[in-house]
Symmetry: C2
Subunit: 514 residues, 2 copies
Amino acid sequence: MQLKADLLSIEAGGPLIVVMNREDAADLGVISSDRVFLRYKEEHAICILNISTEDEPGILGIYGEVKDALGVQEGDMVSVELARRPESIDYVREKINGQRLTPWKIQRIVGDVVERHLSDIELAAFVTALHVHGVSMEEVEALSRSMIWSGKQIEFGRSPILDKHSIGGVPGDKTTLIVTPIIAAAGYSIPKSSSRAITSPAGTADRMESLAPVDIPFERIKEIVNDIGACIVWGGSIDLALADDLFIRIEYPLSIDPLLLPSIMSKKKAMGSTHVVVDIPVGVSAKIKTINEAEQLASDFIELGSRFEMNVECAITEGSQPIGYNIGPILEAREAMETLSGRGPHEIVDKAINLAGILLEMVGNENGKQMALDLINDGRALEKMRQIIDAQGGDPSVKPEDLVPGEYYHDAEAERDGRILWFNNRDLVKIARAAGTPNDKGAGIQLFAKTGDKVSVDKPMFRIFAEKQEKLDNAIKQLRSLRPVEIGEKVGEEMLKKRIRKQTAPSREFILER
Amino acid sequence: MQLKADLLSIEAGGPLIVVMNREDAADLGVISSDRVFLRYKEEHAICILNISTEDEPGILGIYGEVKDALGVQEGDMVSVELARRPESIDYVREKINGQRLTPWKIQRIVGDVVERHLSDIELAAFVTALHVHGVSMEEVEALSRSMIWSGKQIEFGRSPILDKHSIGGVPGDKTTLIVTPIIAAAGYSIPKSSSRAITSPAGTADRMESLAPVDIPFERIKEIVNDIGACIVWGGSIDLALADDLFIRIEYPLSIDPLLLPSIMSKKKAMGSTHVVVDIPVGVSAKIKTINEAEQLASDFIELGSRFEMNVECAITEGSQPIGYNIGPILEAREAMETLSGRGPHEIVDKAINLAGILLEMVGNENGKQMALDLINDGRALEKMRQIIDAQGGDPSVKPEDLVPGEYYHDAEAERDGRILWFNNRDLVKIARAAGTPNDKGAGIQLFAKTGDKVSVDKPMFRIFAEKQEKLDNAIKQLRSLRPVEIGEKVGEEMLKKRIRKQTAPSREFILER
């Protein structure tokens, strides 16, 4: 069947979608969600069908991704045929029915994910089945390998290659901006690729972008790392794990992430990492709630690392409140620069030198933690950070006080005297995002007190920054409807936590960050 | 945020989707798959967001369903705000994590399905979780009740109301066209609502449509049934179970149907049925493979019926080969009319009088099967069928020979002498659909022999009919690549069924029909 291309300026964000008139579809013998095989000049693609009741017959609506795949122009004729059903759907069904998948079958599924042959419905069923039935270490390994094959790999031609990764979920974690220059200052290579925020106020790439560009071409990354030992770039610019982005699209609305391990480890392997420390923050509003869960996850990371000839150690860290006093790209970059300048809060220094210390010990040093602290105190870590900023195109002479947050702000005051008993990380995240993070780099939250600190009625506990008055107003509205800080006399004194009157919907929102 | 409506002539077939420019979305603080709250004049709707990279800022792309919901016109300004996350997503997550859902939570989920507040991803996760964890009888009951509330209900103001339902999956099953007039001829009310084919060559509505219109308004159905006791209409015209259609969209590509029981029983209850016979065909290529599975399903149907004060009995029937000799709307309508005229094949008569007999005995008659046979033999069932055809606007004087299949045909010949050992129903379905069924009413397959019958090399085993040469060619292409009929000497003689040389993908396609 020949149909005339009607280019729709829509992207589905994943699957390749085309839209046919109901009569044409009936004529071809297909229904909505079936697959069709498109042919245009030398190009072809398997697409998923949507049905339009409004379009006239003879027209084929084409989503942005399909246009890119075929190079088709408005009004061109495209040949449309029945497509074979991808066999990976049968393997998805096997997983739904609780079977373990062979590496070959997993490779077919990941391949079809990357080729966009699977619909959102099929992908969601697969991800749900992985979550429900669990993923064996063999499956994790096969998923990781398939994800590596689906993207680019970097070869630095040297060894060791060090890396640090946090599974995320705690706001304000700027540790990477401190660990990376410490490791490079010690003479090791640490090509750090990081992500932008998906649902958090800032990812490492967003923080770094307040200091220098992070969208660095593949070849330039190699040059920088060969030259100065380190970079802090956005992973999205190097296509390390195309499949991963497609899976995250599905995991995020479901607030599940059965692909956490393969997602992280495939990206480390693609960067050629030989020694990796994985940070697992633990806390009630962090991704991992208990030390026991964290230990299980750590053991999986280490086992998976050994299968990829990667030396992996894990650090279980405090994750019950924000890391440091600042949340938001510019505010966090400033706090990181202060910490590298020897003026950081104890907790950030402690976290950074512990993680850097583990890495330094993994490659044969003794007393890595002290070594890391010395590299901060003697200014060499800061000097290395300035080299990284310079190499990526930023201003190497930047001082913390140059990093200025948004001009609009509002102070959140304590409603009573007492001590801060705990923070609700998720409420803080909502307020920071309402204020404009991560898009508005100057938006964010500055804390004046942390857990255990005294606060006084009508005195500010934290300040919300925004770049626009309208967004500050949104953040204030959020602040009034949420409860980001709990104040009491001392922990454990007030026995009634919550009174439940009727069926309430417990919020299970998700801070997805890898 | 105010955005200008750009009406896209696309329907998603389920969720309410709007498309925003990436910058606008960042400004609002939302990402793809988040929900936004739309307000236009007095109307509002919660929609799921897609992101466009091509649209200019300030534009809101609007899918067909959203346009219908809001009544918005091209170029109108629409207010877009952040939407609250529907709490039903938390209940979907509970089901993913293996919890039993309370009736209240199920009602919230079904309500949000009907309001189109859940995305395909969330719906697919829910349906997958129902399939994996199973559905308790309490959940089935709650799903059924919620599905009844989601649609219309018919009140006939009389009792008993009889009904017959097949769980489907076997091609050529025209039994409903025979059972319905038998029951009405016996003086009972049987308002039969039936479905169109989704993946099969013909649904009961498609078969009936060869004889009379089936898209009959709600009020007219009442009149017809009050007048002559029976109708055979398309369920889609009376909106009996809106939620069901939305679930089927998800179940079909996954080839699972955890909602089979609530889907069927909610529609029976909405029709006010008091006595129902459920046909469960069993066979290797039917939906249910073994008698044991069929017995379990039957016990669930009966239990669920009792919870809805509905008297339910089940008939486990032969489903290993097509029912009768004809597949396709017109061919099947012809065979049904022949059977009502006393000239039908033994197997169709046997199935119809057994099912009708069960219904007749359920309402107090003795020897229902003989009673049903008598109603065929004395012509009263045929006369009642003519009344139904007349009432729905068809030609009551139609004779079997007036029902003429497509003019193009091809005979499939036996490749060797022998007996037919078995049919592969799915291959027959593929061939019939390639020939144009169910859309081309004259397309289909006429069998010249059934299981156990002798066939001779180069003599036709069945004839494929089509309305267009091009579709006949498609069907012939399918015929050559498939193996719809297996010929041998006698069953069990040839020991090697299949030789498997390498990893092959077993096809698990699905004939979805309820």
